[in-house]
């Protein structure tokens, strides 16, 4: 493993490390990135099947974060857009990221208030 890969590996939980070792033994020809991709995908499958394939949620803050990041990138093409706009959008993106990191339960009121303005 490279230094970066070691750092990523050390961030894994005990259970995740066991999964990593299991997949590495099962596929000895896979490199670090391939094993991690497998773990990410298995995690997505477990979570999705576990949740029961939820309907799209128009108030999903993670989707709106992606949208805002896309908007911000798009606006960089337009020379007329001033710095204050980017400051305001960056502030919203930072707040949203912080709320998502803090956990979905906390997001409820704040994100509902923001997204209630649009739905």
């Amino acid at each position: 493993m490279t230094n970066e890969e070691c750092q990523d590996y050390n961030k894994l939980t005990k259970e995740q490390k066991e999964d990593f070792e299991y997949h590495s033994r099962k596929h000895p020809d896979w490199n670090f990135k391939q094993v991690m991709a497998k773990m990410v995908f298995d995690g997505i499958v477990d979570e999705t099947i576990g949740k029961g394939g939820e309907d799209p949620n128009p108030k999903d803050p993670t989707i709106w974060l992606t949208i805002l990041e896309g908007v911000r990138t798009t606006l960089t093409k337009f020379k007329s857009i001033g710095r204050s706009i980017f400051i305001a959008i960056d502030s919203a993106i930072t707040s949203l990221k912080g709320l998502i990191r803090a956990g979905i339960q906390r997001i409820g009121d704040v994100i509902d208030n923001l997204l209630d303005k649009i739905f």
Binding site: Q34, F41, G52, D55, G70, S84, A88
Partner: protein
């Protein structure tokens, strides 16, 4: 300025009184021009029978869309659908490459001509297929090279449809492996079968260096769903939102109102 789409309303709320009215109008004009200047272009690729029509019905809300593209054709027409307020959706319905390696060059030319203009490229595979080797070959040798050359790899979504039929293809006589139509969910036994099958499919994708390798796609670009039962469309919408530079436009405008539009659940 009238706000027609959810993203405009959200931006207005975010900008609030932090910017002048003139600056706010500039932003709205910029975003509106990005949304309406050209259609949101989606290429849908897949062999006959993988569910292209149903996917376009359920994910993009195209009522009664029928894929009438003939196998083997390389003459693809753009079909444009008016959404609302000047926003249009454009579909390139493309056949999957046949199993004739000698025709690869012809298809590569077709993909090279059309795909670079597309905001989202959806490659659909039947999730219950016994062998996806040929699809993997096509993705690895034809589709991904075109995407990488044109720096549009992030626009690609690998979509495994018909996960509802995974159980039946294992054992058509086992009722526990059939989709629970009443709850519109997989049975517990079918959930396990789906996990096993998807795990095998992922192993194959990794072995073929389609994910987890240089120039490969990321795990979030792989979605599994059932178009006919509108199952797991939320992840499909998430993948569209993350696609390339313009994927966000679909979800920020009509994405939520179009998805599953014609499902029984929404109509009742």
């Amino acid at each position: 300025m009238e706000q027609k789409f959810a993203i405009e309303k959200l931006l207005s709320a975010i900008l609030g009184d932090k910017v002048s009215e003139g600056e706010r109008n500039q932003v709205m004009e910029a975003i509106n021009s990005e949304i309406t200047e050209k259609p949101f272009r989606v290429a849908v690729i897949g062999q006959s029978g993988v569910g292209k029509s149903t996917t376009l019905n359920s994910v993009f809300g195209l009522k009664n869309y029928t894929s009438d593209i003939a196998e083997g054709t390389t003459d693809i027409e753009e079909k444009i659908f008016e959404m609302r307020n000047g926003f249009n959706l454009s579909i390139y319905d493309m056949p999957g490459i046949g199993y004739d390696v000698e025709k690869d060059a012809e298809y590569e030319r077709m993909y090279a001509k059309i795909l670079p203009d597309c905001d989202v490229i959806v490659y659909i595979i039947n999730a219950h297929a016994k062998d996806i080797g040929e699809d993997c070959r096509i993705l690895r040798d034809v589709v991904l090279p075109v995407c990488n050359t044109n720096q549009i790899k992030d626009n690609l979504i690998l979509a495994f449809n018909k996960i509802d039929t995974i159980g039946e293809s294992e054992n058509p006589n086992d009722p526990e492996l059939r989709w629970n139509v009443t709850e519109n969910l997989p049975t517990e036994k079918l959930k396990k079968a789906i996990k096993v099958k998807l795990s095998d499919l992922t192993d194959k994708l990794i072995d073929e260096k389609l994910i987890g390798s240089v120039d490969a796609i990321e795990p979030h670009q792989v979605v599994f769903y059932s178009a006919i039962y509108n199952y797991n469309l939320s992840e499909f919408l998430r993948a569209i939102t993350k696609a390339g530079k313009r994927g966000w436009i679909w979800t920020a405008t009509v994405g939520f109102e179009q998805i599953g539009k014609w499902s029984d659940k929404k109509l009742s």
